[in-house]
Symmetry: C2
Subunit: 319 residues, 2 copies
Amino acid sequence: MKKMVLGIDIGGTFTKIGLVDRNGNIKGTKVFSTGSKGPYTDFISTLKKELDLLLGMDRNTCEIMAVGIGAPNSNMHTGQMEDAPNFDWGPRVPLQKSIADICGLPTTIANDANAAALGELVFGMAKGMKNFVVLTLGTGLGSGIIIDGRLLTGHNGMAGELGHVNVDPYGRKCNCGLRGCLENYASVTGLKRTVFELISEMKEDSPLKRLSFEALTGEMISEAANAGDAIALKAFQFTGEVLGRKLEDTAAHLDPEAYILAGGLGKAGKLLLKPTVDSMEKNLFVAYRGKIKVAISTAASSILGPAALAMQSLEGHHS
Amino acid sequence: MKKMVLGIDIGGTFTKIGLVDRNGNIKGTKVFSTGSKGPYTDFISTLKKELDLLLGMDRNTCEIMAVGIGAPNSNMHTGQMEDAPNFDWGPRVPLQKSIADICGLPTTIANDANAAALGELVFGMAKGMKNFVVLTLGTGLGSGIIIDGRLLTGHNGMAGELGHVNVDPYGRKCNCGLRGCLENYASVTGLKRTVFELISEMKEDSPLKRLSFEALTGEMISEAANAGDAIALKAFQFTGEVLGRKLEDTAAHLDPEAYILAGGLGKAGKLLLKPTVDSMEKNLFVAYRGKIKVAISTAASSILGPAALAMQSLEGHHS
């Protein structure tokens, strides 16, 4: 029987589950609404049903060795999802325990961005690398740091919160209560806020001026930029400048081999990559200049992160 | 025979050598002028003589197991001192090889601040800790990062250059060619620059106004602050505010258990510690608030860092 792991990616809107083999081949996935605003017990019973459906298909052809869970604000040390802003499941959700009980298998949990970093390490473009950082640029900014081939978890299991390094102590208000945290600039939401700031300043005509903040998406801004829209282009320029400057600070901590940009904003490709790399190189301490790769993630599925977590737990590699 | 290691601390002005036992007891030290502006071969022959004197004393009472070297801008991966600004010994100085050849013993080298971090881990106040950062606040700002009980070296052996995280992209000029690097604010030199900036702005009388920049020392500023001098007090306040803000960024990377402040500026004690902790806590992301110790190093000698490096090499603990 083929040996596989089960990856569970829990998002604020959708949850994805899937079986993955040692080479990162995904064999069967299921997607369902997380119901993050409903009761936690409903989520668990839905998950149980969906797992039965997924596993039923393959019960006789594969053996599942371990389970990995990626979820927002989840702590590897405690096994809980803690104070997740988009979930109404309570302040401390025992996801690891609940899911281990359902599955009866070794189960590991990590913050979704930490899981994504392991996904790049085990199955993705960071195979063979030992020191790198993954930034997931979506609604917010998540990050996962790999040091000497292992996930950095820190003293309280909370390392790698690069969404909350400071860009400007008098800057944009953040969900966390502070001002100027990086995720208010370098994320899809941050890009939208930049577009609206630029609309307030610039006189150029732009299709973006005909959209509400709620209606505006990252794709629309990319599309406008690709069509030469001055506001959209300047918004990417500014986003890359801010992100590049903070990647300098991260280099001065970690001396990484690479940065991998993932998440919705990563889809903008060169529009984001060029100003980010230009700004980073301009601001880098001399010892790091020209030495750090910056790339857009090519990961096929958000299942690969949690699956990598499960895979590593089998090998006893995570710290 | 008692088993010991040899620690060699090479500074821009003085070099200190000493024997250290497993418990951090220092048995015999020697200090001599480094001669950093003279030829490298002179340094090596002086070192050889001083080692003979030091070891001659103890030849029959102890067995030396390994040698550890701490020196500015030194790279553990290459074994060299690289582009050290205060040394005229060439761009790449093969310190590890030269000293291993003299001593005929396993020899390890590290950046002085990295060695200091190991010193705190093995012999100092960080015994038993697994994740912490040492900042040496002297002429410049050096740092050493310990992750899971091991020194973080990074992809090129250059991790932990926190002197060059950015405070203000339009800020003070740095030796490295950039502007606004942290060491131009949080170091003895940075404190002096702040005093001179404040003298340019403030009307209060102060004994500091009777001193040239060259004549001013960190001790004088501490003394003035302890006597209630407004400019000196404000200088420490500002230094702590800047340092505390950047310690927030470091927390968001590493989730450390503690920061240990060492070097000349550390001697200011509470004058530095209070504004630093206040600023750090005010700026910390919620997950870290109230969880990070900040303390002034109590290390007895700069020999302990290199000695710890030698000790760890014996145990195969460094990465």
